[in-house]
Every structure is written in C-alpha cells, then in structure tokens.
C-alpha cells in the first residue's frame, strides 16, 4: 500500500503535496545548474545530446510535480534519470578539461599530495607548488604553500593521480557519484527527488570539475549516517558508523566538529562506556589512515593537521560568508582572535545545549560544523553548501521512522 493510500484523508486536503514540491524543486535546480553548464557548450554531438538529456530530465521532474504522477512510486526513477544526466554531463566536462591545471589550491594540494604519497614521501614535508589561480593568501604576505589537510584526501586521490595528472578531480567526481548513489538507494521514492535536488545546491554536483574537494568527505559522512544505530535506514552498526565517520574526519577537518556531539549522543543513549568504545573506533580509524605519514615525519604531520586551527605557518586572510563577511566587506572588521573566541563560546554553549535539549536536537550532531564555522574567521560558502545533502540524508535516515510513528497514531485513533 503506498503512502498516498495509507494516509488518503490527509492527501485529499492538499493540491500540491510534499513529493510534488520536491520534484518541482529538483527540476528547478536542474534548470539552474544546466543553464550554467550551457555556457560551456561545445560543437560536438555528445555535448548536444547531454544538454538535451539534462534539460529533458528537468522538464520531466517539473511536469511530474505539477501533474498527477504518483511520486511515491516513480520518484526514485525520475531522480535517478536526472542524477545520471548530471553525472554524465559532469564526466563529459571533465573529459573536456582533462589535464588542465587545477585552479584551487585546495584540490591542487590534494592532487600533489596524492602524487607525493605515490613517491613514498609525506606531503607534509614538501612545498606545494600548484593551484596558483586560487591560492590562499596570508596576512603577512605570501600564500599557503604547505599541505594542511588530513591525509585521507591524498590517499583518496592517489590511485587516480597514478593514472591521470589531475586524478584528484576523478576522485571528487567518484565521491559525488557514491554520495548520490547512497542517497538515492536509501531514500524512499517520495524523497528521492529531494535527495537528488540537494546535490545541485551551490552546484555541489559539479565540484569535481570546479576544483573543490568536499564530496571526498561528505560521501563517507553520509555512509556513517546510514550505519548510525538511530537511523531508520541501512544496517545499524555503531562500529561501521564509527569507521566511516573516522574516514570522513581523516579527509577534512570540518567533520571534526561533529565528534563531540556524536559522542554525547552515544553516551546519552547507551552510556559512557559505549561512547568510549565509539570514540576509540573513530580515533583508531583516523590514526590508522595517518599512520604512514606519522611514521615518515611525525612533527610535520601534526603541524600540517593543526595548521588550519592555530596557523603555525602564519594567519590566513579573513574569508567567507559568515560573520567574517563583515571583515571581508570592510563593514566591521573583527580580529581573528575574537572569531576564535566566539567559535569557542558557540561550541561550549552548543555542547551544553545539545546535552540539555538532546531529544529535540540530537540530529544536529551531523551538521555541527555549520553553526560553529559560521563564527570562524574563515567561513567559506562551500562549508555551508554541503549542509544540503547531509541535511537531506538526515531526513532520509529519520523519515521512515516518522512515517511509522504516524502509522501507529492512525492505527490508535
């Protein structure tokens, strides 16, 4: 029995239902991303076919949303068709730009670090020389030239760097594919268009060719949510969730902010001993991934990992769309120290509030970096854009339980 049949009374009251809205939204976002990609058109048959495919999928989604198509039955198929159209377009774009210099220092450093690992050296000990179109300037002059990310990103890129010079782009595209696959696999049909649509926010789905790295850590984070024991999808495994969360932490520092809240969640539900085991699982995964570079040059590895937090190599310039936008725009400059203090205050208040209001806010643990990094002196837009797919992943993880609750309520009435 479909959801529409189960809750027929409620559905009669609405002319546009949530699944229709999700499909329309997904179609609208496909139009937006497709329009931007249209500017990169090429006089080739395959580009023409891909363009038509992308826009056709947008029109189909919108048409399904405004008509009587049962999205509780066809939502997943329509979302899959649209997702595949975008991934083919992204892959084709990669083929077109293949080998071109990576523009951002973030992805360029990951690419170079992957190559350095293949040479048997620690990326934390070498000078990074790529990514000069979008470098990261420092307050005292010059630009960041040391690898300052967890080593997991380099390990993810290395197999592809061994094959193509810009292998890190391939790693990001594959991570995007995995993330979309996970979301669409576990999303119920009526949520599938929303799941796909969340990947279009901020052009996230194109980041493999726009030289951003975030899909590398967002994909394992989504898998960690699937394994989370309080998720109503997937296989409940605190161990599995801990491993994948450890992988996410080993790829990018943003995931670190989730750790204390997730630990509190486990402690709240299963006690401090289990929470301790969870922390050990996450930490062990993190350390295992970093073991090779720690063995090669331990001090350089620690410095590299913590550079973004306390900047031993020098303070970076303010940048971002959070509170730091006041400084960036010249409206109201705030010192880096005050930003750090505000973020610490938000963290302390956040942890206390999380424990006290646990039942109402527990799922916020999976997006903890968002509210905290808003106060950081570096609060880049991509930090917050990635909230979209994770937030929808949370909805997916919670969704079936909500429907089950509703079913129980209907049964009782």
């Amino acid at each position: 029995m479909s959801i529409r049949d189960r809750f027929a009374e409620d559905f009669e009251e609405f002319t546009i239902e949530a699944p229709d809205t999700y499909a329309i939204l997904a179609g609208v976002l496909t139009l937006q991303v497709g329009s931007e990609m249209a500017y990169a058109r090429e006089p080739t048959v395959i580009w023409g076919i891909i363009s038509a495919y992308v826009f056709a999928s947008a029109i189909v989604l919108i048409a399904a949303g405004v008509s009587d198509v049962d999205l509780t039955r066809w939502g997943t198929l329509l979302a899959l068709l649209a997702f595949s159209s975008m991934m083919v377009a992204v892959t084709l774009t990669y083929v077109m730009i293949h080998g071109a210099p990576i523009k951002t220092d973030a992805l360029a450093f990951v690419n170079q670090a992957g190559g350095t690992l293949l040479e048997g050296r620690s990326p934390y000990t070498v000078e990074m020389t790529l990514g000069k179109q979008w470098p990261t300037p420092m307050m005292m002059g010059g630009e960041v030239s040391r690898f300052s990310y967890p080593i997991g990103s380099a390990f993810a890129a290395a197999p592809f760097v061994a094959v193509v010079p810009d292998g890190a782009r391939v790693a990001v595209i594959l991570s995007t594919l995995i993330l979309g696959g996970v979301m669409l696999w576990y999303a119920p049909s009526h949520l599938a268009p929303l799941a796909y649509g969340s990947l279009l926010v901020g052009n996230f789905i194109t980041w493999g060719v726009n030289d951003l790295t975030d899909p590398l850590w967002v994909a394992p984070l989504a898998v960690a949510i699937v394994f989370w024991p309080w998720s109503n999808v997937g296989r409940d495994s605190l161990l599995g969730s801990g491993v994948f969360f450890g992988i996410a932490m080993a790829i990018k520092q943003q995931a670190w902010f989730c750790a204390p809240f997730l630990m509190l969640w486990v402690a709240h539900e299963r006690g401090w001993r289990t929470a301790g085991r969870y922390v050990v699982t996450v930490a062990a995964t993190f350390i295992l991934i970093h073991a090779p570079v720690i063995a090669m040059a331990p001090k350089a590895a620690v410095t590299g990992l913590l550079t973004n937090l306390y900047g031993p190599g020098g303070t970076l310039v303010h940048l971002g769309v959070g509170l730091s936008a006041l400084t960036l725009s010249g409206a109201l400059p705030i010192s880096k120290g005050a930003h750090t203090a505000l973020m610490a205050l938000a963290a302390v208040g956040g942890v206390a509030g999380y424990w006290y209001y646990f039942d109402r806010v527990r799922w916020l643990a999976w997006i903890a970096w968002g509210p905290l990094l808003f106060f950081n002196y570096r609060s880049l837009a991509n930090y917050f854009v990635v909230l979209a797919p994770i937030a929808v992943m949370i909805v997916i993880a919670r969704g079936e339980r909500l429907l089950a609750d509703r079913e129980v309520a209907y049964s009782a009435s």
Binding site: P137, M139, M140, G141, G142, T327, L332, P333, I334
Partner: protein, 118 residues
C-alpha cells in the same frame, strides 16, 4: 552568553582597528586593469608600524598581498605605491578593496574603479 558574545565581538572590533585612514589617490591602468596604485595613508598613532597591503576586486576575488609586502608607516601622512605580485593580481571590475594589515589589525578602504574601466 549573548552578553559575553557581544563583549567578545566588541573587543574584536577594537583589536582589529589599525589607527589609519587609507585613500587610493592614484591608479595605474592598463587595458582596463589596475596594475598599480598610489595610496595616501594617514597614520594616527605615534609609533611607526609595518603593514602589508592586500588588494582584491569584483572579478579578482583572491586577496593577494601586493608588493612591497612590508611598508613602514610613520605617524602622519604617508604616500606609498604598490603593485600586484603577478598578472593574476591585477584588478578588474567595478569595485575593489585595499586593506593594510599589521598582525590582527587592519585599515580598509573600498572604492569604485571608474577611472580604470576601458
């Protein structure tokens, strides 16, 4: 907590203020791009300070430090000339910003690049 946050923010604003007024007094244009500029800096403190200039614009978002990266400001009026470290730093577009930094302090000026549009 809100009061603590406001106190931190207020002290952060105070800590970020470099006692200087910066004005772009002249620009060097080439084919619609700013390839150099002259700054007039009124430095209001009594002790000299060494600052680093950063420039970015509407279509050149990266806040590159321009050369020379160390400028000594004396109390009173200072005239300095700066230029981008490489072609990537040339300023295009309608708006631009120059800011001078000394540790956590900065003095900022935003201006319209009307005089340099081709």
């Amino acid at each position: 907590m809100v009061i603590i946050a406001l106190v931190i923010a207020a002290s952060g604003v105070q800590a970020a203020r470099l006692p200087a007024d910066v004005t772009v007094s002249d620009v060097d244009c080439r084919e619609g791009e700013i390839v150099g500029m002259e700054l007039t800096v009124e430095y209001l403190d009594s002790e000299p300070v060494v600052v680093t200039p950063h420039v970015w614009g509407t279509r050149s978002h990266v806040q590159l430090s321009w050369d020379p990266t160390t400028i000594r400001l004396e109390p009173g009026t200072n005239t300095v000339e700066i230029e981008p470290p490489r072609p990537r730093g040339r300023i295009k577009g309608d708006y631009a910003q120059v800011y001078l930094t000394h540790e956590q302090q900065r003095a900022t000026t935003n201006w319209r690049t009307e005089s340099c549009r081709s």
